[in-house]
């Protein structure tokens, strides 16, 4: 490796570190494993830099290494394969697709408010993280690879070793489950607020009665 290679590599890694760490954190779900995953990815990328012919593709190449490193770690520790998990989690069961938009979109309210836009403006990063982390592994990986890392279906199929049709159906089900979780968090928040408002109301009514 030349000094120019070293300078190129260092500059790219430094520039991409927050993205690399973010992707690793979503994959590994904890800080210690995410840090090890990034360190291993950087080491592998440096060792294989000579195999990358088009340096404009560095970013995609680096994220593929990250994903493959994570997946091979999973395979080492998991006793059952993702395919067996898919069966166990009823991947083949047909269920109507859940749509958050359909739940939020209430045409009779639209003349004065826009609940879906309001939802998007208020949805918390931590709720999105929680919803992604809570997905069954078989759906979580395609969702992360597509929605967070921007990989194509073909790239996801290659990384996971499944046909493109499977990627498509897992993404559909994963996104539906994710939206369902977000809807549930919203419902829980609404109920908590309503309870709090009722408590305040009861308290005020109680004080009012005491005064009379």
């Amino acid at each position: 490796m030349t000094d120019a290679d070293r300078a190129f590599f260092e500059q790219e890694i430094t520039g991409l570190l927050d993205r690399l760490y973010g992707a690793a954190l979503r994959l590994a779900k904890n800080r210690a494993d995410a840090e090890d995953l990034v360190a291993e990815t950087v080491t592998k990328a440096w060792a294989n830099l000579h195999t990358l012919h088009d340096r404009l593709c560095f970013r995609g190449w680096l994220f593929r290494i990250l994903t493959n490193t994570f997946l091979s770690e999973c395979r080492k520790t998991e006793t059952t394969s993702l395919e067996a998990l898919a069966e166990a989690q009823g991947e083949t069961d047909e269920e109507p697709a859940f749509s958050l938009f359909d739940q939020l979109h209430q045409p009779f309210l639209l003349w004065w408010s826009n609940p879906e836009q309001e939802f998007l403006n208020k949805v918390l990063r931590e709720d999105l993280q929680k919803a992604v982390d809570a997905l069954p592994e078989v759906f979580r990986l395609p969702v992360i690879l597509s929605d967070l890392q921007g990989l194509s279906y073909h790239e996801i199929a290659t990384a996971l070793g499944v046909p493109i049709g499977t990627v498509r159906s897992r993404l559909t089900r994963g996104r539906a489950q994710l939206q369902k979780a977000l809807w549930q968090y919203r419902q829980e928040l609404t109920e908590t607020r309503e309870r709090a408002a009722n408590d305040v109301h009861d308290l005020k009514t109680g004080e009012h009665h005491e005064r009379h």
Binding site: I13, A23, F101, E116, S152
Partner: protein, 79 residues
């Protein structure tokens, strides 16, 4: 005259995520665009899914802890 085939709402919703994921071929992509230009309901749905996807995409960037950034700098120096 346009050669773009007209599609209905069911077909548009069926293809929506492949459209947002940029997985449709040029002809199907154009059909989706045409439908979204003429159908307010599907356009609203598409905008919602696009923004939600954008919010998920933002999860891929995380501030690297400074000690860890230091560890990586140390690693790079050893190469």
């Amino acid at each position: 005259m346009s050669d773009i085939k007209e599609i209905g709402c069911d077909e548009a919703l069926h293809r929506l995520f492949e459209y947002l994921d940029r997985e449709l071929d040029a002809a199907r992509h154009a059909e989706m665009e045409q439908h979204l230009h003429t159908c307010r309901a599907c356009y609203s749905r598409a905008e919602f899914e696009k923004r939600l996807k954008g919010k998920l995409g933002a999860l891929s960037v995380e501030q690297t802890p400074s000690e860890f950034a230091q560890r990586i700098r140390g690693l790079l120096r050893r190469f």
